[in-house]
Amino acid sequence: MSAAATTIAHEVPPQAGPRAFLHRLRRGDEIAHLITLTFAAAILLITSLLVYELWINSHLSRTHFGWAFFWTKVWDPNFDNFGAAPFIYGTLVTSVLALLLAVPLGLASAIFLSELAPRNVSDTISFLIDLLASVPSVIYGLLGIFIVVPLMRTTFGPLLIHTVGNLPYVGALFRGPNYGVGFLTAGIVLAIMVVPFIISVSREVLLTVPREQREAAMALGATRWESTWQVVVPWARTGIMGSVFLALARALGETMAVTMVIGNAAVINTSLLAPGDTIASTIANQFTEATGDLYLSALIELGLVLFLITFILNGLARILIVATERGGGRPA
């Protein structure tokens, strides 16, 4: 085809039919569209399949226990009596504890790394933090067993019982026997696990805040800290919240490390020092030894419940982000 012919071909409006389609294919648009659409659809498909499988396989348990599954406090394989309440409680309590510990720590570290530390120090530490984020959770479980559990049993547990344990109201959270394993221990190990995510993502987001924002604050007589806390952090808040929700998602679903330090007891206990269990941990522990169809079905329904909790919390997270953007939103 000569150069002149090519020029003319471009002036002619695209024709219908296979030739035109092939022509477009050659340009790559159509292919790119198709491939990205397929992959995007695959995500949706995988999610639907997951829910479908959980739904079908939990049929026995769902029909047997009904809605009561959510608030039944008993989990007794011997008598085929199953309720999810202790595990829902354990999952939420350990995740909330993890965030309470990890968010201040992570945010403070991220601020230090992005705003105060010299660039090369910041980059070195960030590299190590990214490394921490990729350590397998079983390693964190071992860390919990060999360091956190003994510390809780001998030092922190008794300390908490004898100090805040004596206070009215909050004291109830720190009473009773202290085995070293339990909600608080699991929360601490989870916090250690999720803090690298918070630091890593928050630091990246803080580094993208425009220089002009810091300078605008300082030009008005703000101190460095005021400019950081009142201007830089609010600018980055959407991204920081994103890092927190990423951490929450990991904490909710974490299995191995939690199983190793939570005590694996299907009970609801006010004391954070008491043993408990989470949904993911229970499924992992009991799935292979689940005898009987109802037992297995109940475990699968637990999986469905965990999916539901994750779904609801993610939805709430979206709403929270939209709400905080109001009145002070910045261009996306």
């Binding site: 010299p118 425009p210 002009e212 924002q213 810091r214 300078e215 605008a216 604050a217 300082m218 030009a219 008005l220 007589g221 703000a222 101190t223 005021e226 009142q230 201007v231 609010p234 600018w235 009145g327 002070g328 939103g329 910045r330 261009p331």
Partner: protein
């Protein structure tokens, strides 16, 4: 080497800059600069890109100190006092700044203006001062019904006037403007120039611009910089009609830059 016709002997000088050198690491950006910035007047700094005019402006509120690995030598006096002896936070409250691109905070219009007042512990009625500042920045009529809206809902020109209002709220003695109109259209630019004219009653201004028409229209005195050196400084009308240095003439007639 600079030919400075001492501007207006009868006039008070708000800022006196003596033998100022500035370095980015080993690279010197401003060379032995001497300049007086008269009170309640607009002084324009012109020159080709990279001539050091913005760098120089940013030494006046010590904003360059936020950049690592920089160094300043020489003296800058604010009302006879060395700015390097002053507390930097207090200095920046007295010497406000408006930046090249509008940079409102991700807060409401009201909170943007109130920000400087709040951090400086202002005890009076915030509402009054916010309104007054927005009026001084000629923005009040356009935003008075939307004070709780995000500052990003405003147009670029409105955002820049909001930034001026924000700077004015803490009542600075000096306002530094670093190419404040370079991102704005001509109509908005005219509004800001008019605004500067009215602000002269209460404020001393130094404006960096590479728009020579703007310098000619809006300033009382003009300083021409080239490669980090101050080449010429005189009354604006004089500098643009009868420049004494051939390089100044070459620049204002558009032969380079």
């Amino acid at each position: 080497m600079e030919k400075t016709t001492s501007p207006t002997i009868e006039h008070k000088q708000r800022l006196t800059i003596a033998n100022l050198n500035f370095y980015y690491g080993p690279k010197q950006a401003v060379f032995g600069l001497n300049l007086k910035i008269p009170t309640n007047r607009v002084t324009a700094l012109i020159g080709p890109s990279g001539c050091g005019k913005s760098t120089f402006l940013r030494t006046l509120n010590r904003m360059n100190e936020t950049i690592r690995n920089t160094r300043v030598e020489g003296e800058v006096l604010l009302d006879g006092q060395s700015i390097h002896a002053l507390d930097v936070v207090g200095l920046r409250r007295r010497v406000g700044m408006v930046f090249q691109r509008p940079n409102p905070f991700p807060k409401s219009i009201y909170d943007n203006v109130a920000y400087g007042l709040r951090i400086n512990g202002y005890k009076g009625r915030l509402d009054d001062l916010v309104e007054q500042s927005l009026r001084r920045a000629a923005l009040w009529d356009e935003v008075k019904d939307y004070l709780k809206k995000s500052a990003f809902a405003l147009s670029g020109g409105q955002q820049q006037r909001l930034c001026i209002a924000r700077a004015l709220a803490v009542d600075p003695e000096v306002l530094l403007l670093d190419e404040p109109c370079s991102a704005l259209d001509p109509v908005t630019t005219a509004k800001i120039e008019e605004l500067m004219f009215h602000l002269k009653d209460s404020c001393t201004m130094a404006i960096v611009t590479h728009n020579m028409q703007q310098a000619a229209r809006a300033s009382d005195f003009t300083a021409f910089m080239l490669d980090g050196h101050l080449i010429e400084h005189s009354e604006t009308s004089k500098l643009f009609t009868t420049p004494t240095d051939p390089r100044t003439e070459a620049y204002i007639t558009g032969r380079f830059g």
